[in-house]
Assembly symmetry: C5
Homo-oligomer: 307 residues x 5
């Protein structure tokens, strides 16, 4: 157990040993094991966007085993997916990588301005599949937010009692905010705070932009001169907004683009004190060898082996 | 136990022995037993369309015993029906054919653009009636989809814990999609993926057309040149979209037409790697002898005894 | 135990001995005991229409004991009423007549186009009051149908497990159908089918008219030349639609009119193979002696002692 | 135990000894103990109308102990109040007067045409506070009626199993009826019938007026010449509508007015066979001595000591 | 145990020893321990207004440990916060200060005229974190009030059974009242009464203004000449409206302003017989030393050491 992991665990002092062990399992696994940094492979796009949009660019990804293997070989800290994908491989790859069962999901065959994902898995499912954590998505800004917060609360209480860690995808979205506001720095920092207050152990947000969405918040950002120019500035503010760094905050892969653009983003996250990335489409939509190389570079940036 | 059935069961490695046994019961029963192909007789039209529309063409079908006998004599892999029909014969034909209790149903005395079937049976009912599986219908594309996904999730978890297999009818329908979109290839493949991600062991969809409904999906189908011209092409894509063939996907009988048209469709399903058919009206609305002959031909096509 | 009752019980072969015993209790009680025919006294009008409209024509009916006595003396097979009425006499008349606790009820102080009765009793109530069955009303055609079907499902499962029989009042009503459609032959036959598929042991419908409500159904009735001219024709079709006669179907007293008109209706039900009547207002709104004579005639028609 | 109380208890023959004991506790307590008549002190106005409107006229009433003492000293049969008021004195006055915990309440800071009170207490609360009964308000005529009836049903079943009596405030109100209709004789009689059918042991209604609200009912009242001219006539009809007098029906204090007007109303209730009154504001909004004298007169009218 | 604390506990005579002990823990802790006065530090603004608006003015407050330390060093009676903030320090500061877990919270990323906070914690959470009490916010005046009252009821019953005290934030808000009405004296007194009737042990309201919102109430205030001119008058009326002083009522810090203005408000609360203050932003948005000095003055005013 490294000093850094011990330090991180100390922030969760009130948690039971089961939760601490599962947090440690994720922090200690893979290429970044022990560094306190994390790269997670999430594959829920089959549900969220449909199979062809997700897997046709690299058809190997239609197969659930592909993603288990990719996460294992790339040295990711964990692999996150919905029930079906985990059920289709958890026995075959038992013990080879920490798993996160995503407990709610949404498809795009019906869309609504105030989204709320359906609950598609349970804590019992996570336990029987040998998972280290549950995952849950909330949409602050949606009229359905209370239903999501309350479901998360119930599932979290049950998960924690069973020794599972809780990973929250906090994605502002809905009629309460504008499209640009979804990644505005004030909104993303707020979304991280909400997830932290709801009891998340690990928080996932999108890399924020320099936009300021909320009028009352804007006044404060300007009055207090909170730096939001560079991504590192903004990540630093999000980490601060997550209990002053006492909660693990990771960032989604962000928009597709050239590899260098992604790597620059990763550098920004690292320099701002972010804890890592959760990278889906940018990984599994490339051919396997390319993906492994790409993830290796990402991890080296986090691990400090590449500037 | 044939090699093929053993292979199919291996895809469900994470399931408990109870579920594996019930999947095997269905795969090993009847004329196609052991081949990995399935033909299932479903009779829920009495509920879904009313008794006269369903049974007047062949009045023997008013009697619940008729369908048990038809499925047994035709050598179907299983017989699926709502609570009332199964309660009316499960004791009389106990042990003669695997049963699937359809746990939700809808009637047409009240219709709504965003349908949601009522739950009309339970896992407890399925167990006391000696069933091998539960069946459940979801309508992706309906505003009520979340309610259906969540009910299915709860019932599936309970069924699996009790060793029952889960068969999901995944029928896109509702205000999120167009009428033509209900059988569009992108939508049907997506519907199969959703059912798979929700944890279905067996997935039932309609035979897809070459229509592409969703704009974002269309771009990908065209860019990746996914073949969708022939039914075999489309079935192959649906099977791929069901965890790259790691889930049993069967197809509904399709529109009524000449026998040859049905047989051609069955050939398309077989050639695309589909696992079989679930044929209701095309079977029970004919006189018994005709139905037996018709089903025999279908099974011979699947079994490879007829080209 | 007569052959006929034994035959009827054989249709419920999958039911537990508790349910079979309670079905037998009702079939074997009273003047028609053992014939396979049933006449049931239902008194829920106090709740459904108010006390004065129900009982002022024969004020003895304000008293709950009156109806117990009437049902007992008339030799009815069972007495059905809501919680309050049964609680007010179940101890006093314990063991003298099979009781059916109506588990849902509605009043007319607030009316809505898509009705749904409130649940006003439980299976536990039925058991502590010594009932033989529960009763439940569904309104196919109402936007609230799913809620009613699902509540019935839950209550039925609980009742059956406790050995109680399930009697379903299936009354099409709501914005899905026209006023005339409520008693149209296609709709009534469909309503009987729905109740049967939901697992009812005994089904109560209204005597159907020759109207055909649903376009798709009409085509089939005409194409298949299903006879619907006489009441006996229509009753025969409803009985057929109730699992080809494998479920007990009884008919409500129908509109008030001259006694002869009622008796003719009873003859039509008998001649069409109906299992009996459930006659409320036509019984308890007359003076006691008249009611006894009236019911005696009805029973004699069913028993074959009067043509 | 007087003959009269024994007779009243006989109407509840199906109830368990716990319920009978608690009904007896209320019937045997206070100045009217043993007569079969009841005067109950209810104090829920603090919640329903606010503290100043309720207690400023007699500020002693702000104190919860005041009402316990008033009910005890006046010799009321029971004291009814919401959770907070009972919790604030149940220990201090344990065993001195039967208590009724009102399980639902409403405030006027938000009003709606179709009211439904919030559930504010439980059967468990009633038991731990040593109550003899639960109280519950229903609003027949409100679009929310089903929710209220169903909650009452659940609470009643739980209360009866625990040996508690059930007192129902049945107040027609909501968009289904007119303002005048709320106290119309046909509506009040119907409201009493509904409460009785829902299983209430004690029913509280408002003193009815001679108005006839419902068209269908009006025809019957006129055809059957049901007397509704005097209050005594109307009370008699309400008592008859409550299972022909087999349920205890009491009347609310009615509109404020001169004492003589109230006493006349009490005479009307008594002469019509009503079982008593439940008098709140008319009692606790007067100075204590006046209130005691006022209640003494009311009880003497019921007890027959004053004409 | 001081006489005053003993007296206060006597008002809760019906509570179990667990609840009494936890009330005593709060009353006996800190600088005001034993005086019967309370100053509580609440920090839910991170959730309610967002992290930057809450903590940027004094960035130390981003860290959850800061608030534990502030409350401990200032000698507050208790520290109240949502789940995340308490989980992040409860183990580190175990036993150093009584904790109140706020069980519901709201954010401003989506706003609605009829607010209802999401449930974000449970009684089980409060127990495992070693809390002395649960906290819950109700919004009388909101169309959602019933949902809030009913959730509070359930949580309170569970909390009391587990020996936890119940603190209710009663904040009138919603489409039933005007903006000015939210702090009108009649409305605030009513809100206190509602919280008391719902069974709160400790009630938190905002300092009321002299506005009279409700027409019917206004008449009574004027007729009875209830004094509402000074804050002390109004506080006295709120305390009276809280069971004549038999419930602990504390007041929120009120609008930001000069320190002297706050201290004057505290004097008004003290002089009107209020039990103390709950001061968030006015405390934690200042630098630590300033905050300690500020709170020291507040406590000295309550303790009588400063006029």
């Amino acid at each position: 157990m490294t000093e850094r992991v011990r330090e991180i665990l100390s922030w969760y002092a009130g948690s039971n040993p089961g939760v601490l062990s599962n947090l440690a399992r994720m922090l200690n696994h893979g290429a970044l094991g022990g560094t306190g940094k994390m790269v997670i492979l999430p594959v829920d796009q089959g549900f969220e966007h449909g199979p062809a949009r997700s897997f046709a660019p690299n058809p190997a990804g239609y197969d659930p085993h592909y993603h288990f293997k990719l996460a294992i070989e790339a040295g990711c800290n964990a692999y996150a997916a919905p029930l079906g994908f985990l059920e289709a491989g958890a026995a075959d790859f038992a013990g080879e990588i920490p798993l996160i069962l995503k407990l709610n999901n949404s498809d795009v065959l019906y869309e609504t301005p105030d989204p709320c994902s359906a609950i598609t898995g349970s804590v019992g499912d996570a336990l029987r599949l040998g998972c280290a954590a549950i995952g849950y998505t909330i949409y602050p800004g949606s009229a359905m937010r209370n239903e999501m917060y309350e479901n998360l609360r119930e599932l979290s209480e049950e998960a924690k009692a069973a020794g599972l860690a809780v990973v929250v995808w906090s994605y502002p979205r809905g009629s309460g905010i504008s499209k640009d506001g979804e990644t505005a720095i004030d909104v993303v920092a707020y979304a991280a705070q909400i997830a932290a207050q709801l009891g998340a152990h690990v928080i996932k947000v999108k890399p924020p932009t320099a936009v300021l969405e909320q009028k009352e918040a804007k006044k404060v950002y300007e009055a207090q001169k909170i730096p939001v120019e560079t991504l590192a500035d903004r990540v630093r503010h999000v980490v601060q907004s997550s209990f002053n760094g006492r909660r693990i905050v990771i960032f989604s892969g962000g928009a597709k683009g050239s590899d260098e653009k992604v790597f620059d983003e990763v550098r920004g996250i690292r320099d701002g004190g972010g804890f890592g990335s959760i990278i889906g489409r940018n990984s599994f939509q490339r051919p396997r060898e390319e993906a492994l190389k790409f993830l290796d570079t990402v991890m080296k940036i986090y691990g400090g082996k590449i500037k």
